[in-house]
Amino acid sequence: MGDFLQLVKNENMKIYRRPRTWVMTGILIGLVLAISIMWLTFGGRDASMWDVAFIEASVLFLLVTIFTVVIAAGGVAEEFTSGTIKLLLIRPWSRSKILLSKYVAIMMFAILLAVLLFASTIFVNWVAFGINADPEVVPNTIPNGDSPVSYLMQYYALTLVSLVVTVTLAFMLSTVFRSGGLAIGMSLFLLLGVNSFILLIAMLDYKWIDYLLFIHLNLTQYLDGNPMREGMTLGFSLGVLGVYYILFIALTWYIFNKRDVAS
């Protein structure tokens, strides 16, 4: 019955018609420009465009995560706080499909931001450092032997995986708490707060720590080949993340389907 793409279109409309979405996108691209220009001004032109692009990516990807978490945390919760959830649900669509359309739209936004970051860092730094570059300058943040493009691609792919898990967590909190502020706060606390002392926790010698979500959220640890805890492999991390992901999705959908809508 009906066309699911129409639902996604609706959710996209609700994301992109809001000024905050464009402010966040603007900040992201503005920062790429600002960092490159400052580097050019104070550091001169003798840096490799790949180095600058890589450093910007590693710093600004956190911003991509935060912005997407803000949108994801708002996704379901704001429909509840504004009361629009009632008019949204009384349509010939199951709750699961309505929730799925929201999830798809949010994931599209996450990927859009990541692609924007990738494209803008490459383009801006190609203009700033790449054109007529001194052939002597070689990238030194990127391990020897790897082509810079494939290294960056791998970096983005691994961060995207953690982005998806983090955003799914925020989406779940949004559905459970039905309060945008609480969901944003919780997600960012988990993301920033826990991540900052996760290195300490990683040093503890308990087996169960291997299964903590936050040990695995930074997958780029495997790119340089020194994982946070000894003996962990990329496969193991992906497995743990996969289990968490399924758990988050199952809980989100179960709760959303079950819940009485009363305000």
Binding site: M1, G2, L7, K9, I90, R91
Partner: protein, 306 residues
């Protein structure tokens, strides 16, 4: 009665130990404006929420157009348009975008239909403005617009006159009557405004503390035949009473410049004739028909929430 569009069968809702709705059974036919009347907290909104699938039922079943709301939700809700409580819209979108949003969710709604509905609720002038700039009355109109967008067979409106000015209320009332008569749809309206219901509805169900207390037909001949208290303004109350006592009437109340009797329509005319024949000047006759409000307070016993 025709095949009902809505059947509520033994609908019960319990939250924890509290029974919010207790074995509610009700049938609504097409082509009728049906009022759902009750004091605040009686369970009107809860019932409506269950009817549109926002809340689960503890016991019982609700069928809309023959489809169970719990087992076959998508089919049951297909022909329902509703406003639940306040018509909350996306404030950061324009009124038009809000309607497009809902139009996309049901196949077969053309842009033409959207414009038609906008015109119908009289929002042409402001439909491109953001909803956050709308007054409550305009939001209410937009709410009605989204509810009738897909030409539903059942229209559920929770306190629809909330925030409308008298002209708007009148307009809405006329429109709902027209919808039910011309298009043959069923309109289910909840309210605690009794006088409003009296003007708008064909039948009224009264609920209190989650129980269905009574279902009444409004207007019909029965109200006219009911004995009412009749106030008669006369020049000599004493003389009037004597004249009436002579005809065998009892229970006449005397007032200053007036008398009061219990009488139906025909009796009122007869009394008037007696008074005139006795040479008493009759300045005015006013029958105080029991309004729905009186009936309502009588039935619910004017009980408090609790």
């Amino acid at each position: 009665m025709e095949k009902p569009i809505v059947r509520l069968q033994n609908v019960t809702k319990r939250i924890g130990r509290r029974t919010i709705i207790d074995k509610l059974t009700l049938d609504l036919p097409l082509g009728e404006v049906f009022g759902f009347l009750g004091p605040n907290g009686a369970g009107k909104t809860t019932t409506i929420r269950m009817m549109v699938g926002l809340m689960s039922l503890t016991e019982g079943e609700i069928f809309i157009n023959g489809h169970s709301i719990t087992k076959d939700y998508e089919k049951a809700i297909r022909h329902v348009g509703a406003i639940v409580e306040n018509p909350e819209m996306y404030k950061y979108l324009s009124g038009y975008d809000n309607l497009i949003h809902y139009a996309r969710m049901i196949p077969g709604i053309t842009e033409h239909r959207v414009h038609e509905v906008v015109k119908l609720v009289g929002l042409e002038g402001r439909i491109r403005d953001k909803v956050k700039t709308y007054s409550l009355g305009m939001r209410q109109r937009l709410g009605v617009a989204q509810a009738i967008l897909h030409k539903p067979q059942l229209l559920i409106l929770d306190e629809p006159t909330n925030g409308l000015d008298p002209a708007g209320i009148r307009e809405l009332r006329d429109y709902l009557r027209k919808l039910s008569k011309d298009e043959g749809i069923a309109v289910f309206v909840s309210s605690h405004l009794l006088s409003e219901m009296e003007l708008m509805c064909d039948r009224v169900a009264i609920i209190q503390n989650g129980r269905l207390i009574d279902v009444r037909t409004i207007g019909g001949s029965e109200t006219a035949a009911v004995a009412a208290r009749v106030f008669i303004e006369v020049d000599r109350p004493q003389g009037a009473i004597e004249a009436l006592l002579a005809t065998g009437r009892s229970s006449i109340f005397e007032g200053e410049q007036a008398i009061a009797v219990e009488a139906d329509r025909d009796e009122t005319a007869a009394i008037n004739a007696v008074l005139v024949a006795a040479g008493i000047k009759v300045y005015g006759i006013r029958a105080h028909v029991k309004s729905l409000e009186d009936q309502f307070l009588e039935v619910t016993g004017g009980e408090r929430i609790g």
